[in-house]
């Protein structure tokens, strides 16, 4: 017995030593061939993980250049980037949007001379730093607004033509809400303030007051302070969302994004504020009829808003790591060029991300993207993504959501929302530039 025990102990020790050794050996992997370089993409969209992996494999098969795609868990991108950037094999390709410039701007390679930058249909889709260097390139354009279930709207005796501004939207919504019991569906999906849903309001809906204020004041770069001129309009829409809905009050604090999506997908609500990326979920997961779906602008009672279009913009930007090895930078740029020009790359981009701003981009099958262009073609002004300027965006949004939660449950006043919105902006701007 003792012999056996001694043997086991010796084995365990030997194994633990081997394990230690094995680990240090494995770290060399993924560096790729020194001569050709390699690509390491830190992706921040978990929903696109599979598509990226497949595309990376295709590229490696065709060219022999290793492409490693790592996807950060939802909401963990920033945390992961902080630790990955310190490693020897840091990501060569990462995302750095307007919100990330303060932290990651110094890590971005100047893309002005790159082939992928030249492929951009409009140079407006790139971010530049103070020195005029191109630090990141937008790779997809997204559009959001209020998604409408036309079939239900007609069932309730209304039509899309009735809705041209906030007042008409409210009239329709109020009517549907009042008859919700008899109709079997309500006007709006639940405006959940759970983390999985609150960005629709602290980000996308908050864009409306920001956009109009910046338009009035001619703001074209991140402002240090804002005035909150249109916050009353923000309140109007928010009040509409939390009144004409089956879920109201404190119950909204725990309502999730999935819940709102399901309400809309299962035909329990007519209106659902969300964007292009929802299309495939609605038609595939919930089997909605594509013909029943359309998207209208978020009307908030601003003068002249009959001419408003959908909100189109992006927060998805590619940046190349300046500190990567030269051959890796080259490999990364080659990979990007291939992604935006090749058959495989453009198909995947159109399918996953909808409209993309490159010369050879394919037209997306997603009709919401086409709708955005239609509005503009009909003479409507496009609503840009002004919220991209938000300083220290996660902190700012957290404070707005908290104030909004108290207001929604009847525990707080709208003034706190205003403070979080306006003074919070100045505070976070100061934090960012400290």
């Amino acid at each position: 017995m003792k012999k056996f025990l001694a043997l086991i102990l010796a084995l365990v020790m030997a194994l633990s030593l081997v394990a230690c050794g094995g680990n240090s050996g494995a770290q060399g992997e993924g560096d790729g061939d020194a001569a050709t370089g390699s690509v390491y993409y830190l992706n921040f969209k978990p929903e696109a993980e599979e598509a990226w992996q497949a595309l990376a494999k295709t590229y490696t098969d065709q060219t022999g250049v290793p492409v490693k795609v790592v996807t950060a868990a939802s909401g963990e991108y920033e945390t992961m980037l902080v630790s990955e950037m310190d490693k020897d094999g840091a990501p060569t390709l990462f995302q750095c949007n307007e919100g990330g410039v303060a932290t990651w701007g110094d890590f971005c390679y100047d893309l002005s001379d790159s082939a992928v930058y030249n492929e951009l249909a409009s140079k407006d889709y790139a971010l530049k730093n103070a020195d005029g260097e191109v630090i990141s390139i937008a790779y997809c354009l997204e559009t959001y607004g209020i998604i409408v279930n036309k079939a239900l709207l007609e069932q309730a005796g209304h039509s899309l033509n009735e809705i041209t501004d906030f007042d008409s939207l409210k009239a329709v919504a109020d009517d549907i809400h009042a008859r919700a019991g008899e109709l079997g569906f309500d006007a709006f999906t639940s405006a959940g303030l759970d983390g999985s849903s609150s960005w629709r309001f602290s980000g996308h809906l908050a864009n409306m007051p920001l956009f109009y204020e910046f338009r009035d004041d001619g703001v074209s770069s991140k402002p240090a302070t804002i005035k909150g001129t249109y916050l009353d309009n923000y309140k109007k829409v928010w009040d509409l969302y939390i009144t004409d809905s089956a879920t109201t009050g404190a119950a909204l604090l725990t309502a999730t994004g999935d819940q709102a999506e399901a309400e809309f997908g299962e035909g329990k609500a007519v209106f659902y504020q969300n964007g292009t990326w929802e299309y495939s979920n609605l038609t595939e997961k919930f089997g909605m009829n594509p013909d029943d779906l359309t998207m209208i602008p978020i009307y908030c009672g601003v003068e002249g808003e009959e001419k408003a279009g959908l909100c189109t913009g992006t927060e998805n930007y590619w940046s190349v790591n300046k500190n990567a090895k030269e051959e890796d930078i080259k490999a990364t740029l080659d990979f990007l060029y291939w992604v935006v020009t090749s058959e495989e790359g453009t198909s995947m981009m159109a399918e996953q991300f909808g409209a993309c701003p490159f010369n050879s981009s394919k037209a997306p099958s997603n009709p919401f993207s086409a709708l955005a262009n239609e509005y503009v073609a009909n003479g409507c002004y496009p609503v840009t993504w002004a919220f991209n300027y938000t300083p220290a965006v996660n902190d700012w949004r957290a404070a707005v959501v908290d104030a909004l939660s108290k207001y929604t449950a009847g525990d707080g006043s709208w003034d706190d929302v205003k403070t979080a919105f306006v003074e919070g902006w100045a505070t976070q701007y100061a934090n960012e530039n400290a």
Binding site: A102, T103, L253, P391, A392, D402, A409, G410, A434
Partner: protein, 307 residues
């Protein structure tokens, strides 16, 4: 005869032929653990202390700023708030957890039917991770509170007591096991003597049982106190510091944010400018928890009875 034979058996574990080389090679046996300790604890710790004197965004690029981070940490009102909130939380949780754990342990050593089953059930919450617990309890609390049109993230008091309930639920079972071990180690003859002398149950408990198991109290109070100060996952998942107290200047005080979460939040704040300050806070936090732990150990050790 048997012993002599064993000594000659070169493969026996207590044979000198085996023991000597083992004793000589002690360092080799310590090496894996020591190396792991250095890599996993010592090195990051020293690097952390170093970085607390630097301004940095990623830890490989830093600028030395002397005590700037410490000054910022002390002038950060949210950090001070987190400190007092944590202190209050630790005090209340130590009180509740230990009282409840001892009461349960005492009840379960009275020979009730099925006490083994009870012990297992009470211990089980301890096996669930903090984040999961936090989300489960937030669902439970909100499920009830929503009937009164409120939520655990709307009122600091709910948040505080929510955390207390959660931590009690999680830790009572664990401390109970330690107390049960202590209760069972009280010498039977002492209890018998007390019975013969006519001591009541209450007197026996206070004069015989508790003094004889002070070492269990030492360890349990140490664990609950440091756990209280170090609490992170549960805090993050249950309230994430909400509700916020909106300051007139636009900053917020997160009313249910404890020290560890405060450090995490300032490190990962989206401006990325507070990492050094967060590091300084972490060093202060370490000193605080170590000091409190040591003081507590020393004071309860004095009350321990040597059997």
């Amino acid at each position: 005869m048997k012993q002599i034979k064993r000594k000659r058996d070169a493969a026996a574990l207590n044979s000198r032929l085996i023991r000597r080389p083992i004793q000589r090679m002690v360092w080799l046996f310590l090496l894996p653990t020591f190396a792991a300790f250095c890599i996993g604890f010592l090195y990051p710790f020293l690097q952390g202390v170093f970085l607390s004197f630097c301004k940095f965004k990623v830890i490989s690029q830093w600028d030395w700023v002397w005590f700037g981070n410490y000054i910022k940490a002390f002038s950060d009102s949210s950090f001070l708030h987190a400190f007092w909130f944590t202190a209050l939380f630790a005090f209340v949780s130590v009180l509740f957890i230990n009282t409840l754990a001892f009461a349960v342990a005492y009840a379960l050593t009275q020979g009730i039917k099925g006490s083994n089953l009870f012990r297992t059930v009470f211990f089980m919450p301890n096996l669930i991770g903090g984040i999961v617990l936090g989300y489960i309890w937030s669902m439970i609390f909100d499920g009830i509170l929503v009937k009164y049109n409120t939520s655990v993230v709307l009122n600091s008091k709910f948040g505080f007591w929510g955390l207390i309930i959660l931590i009690c639920w999680q830790q009572v079972g664990y401390m109970m096991i330690i107390y049960i071990a202590g209760l069972q180690a009280v010498p039977e003859d002492m209890l018998e003597a007390a019975r013969i002398d006519g001591a009541t149950r209450w007197q026996t408990l206070w004069k015989v049982t508790i003094p004889n198991m002070m070492s269990s109290f030492t360890i349990c109070i140490f664990l609950t106190l440091t756990n209280g100060f170090k609490l992170f996952d549960q805090n993050l998942a249950l309230t994430a510091g909400r509700p916020f107290l909106q300051q007139a200047d636009g900053s917020v005080i997160k009313t249910t944010e404890m020290l560890a979460l405060n450090i995490y939040n300032s490190f990962y704040s989206s401006s990325g400018n507070n990492r050094g300050t967060a590091q300084a806070k972490a060093v202060l936090f370490f000193v605080l928890v170590a000091a409190i732990g040591l003081i507590q150990l020393r004071s309860t050790r004095k009350k321990e009875v040597q059997q």
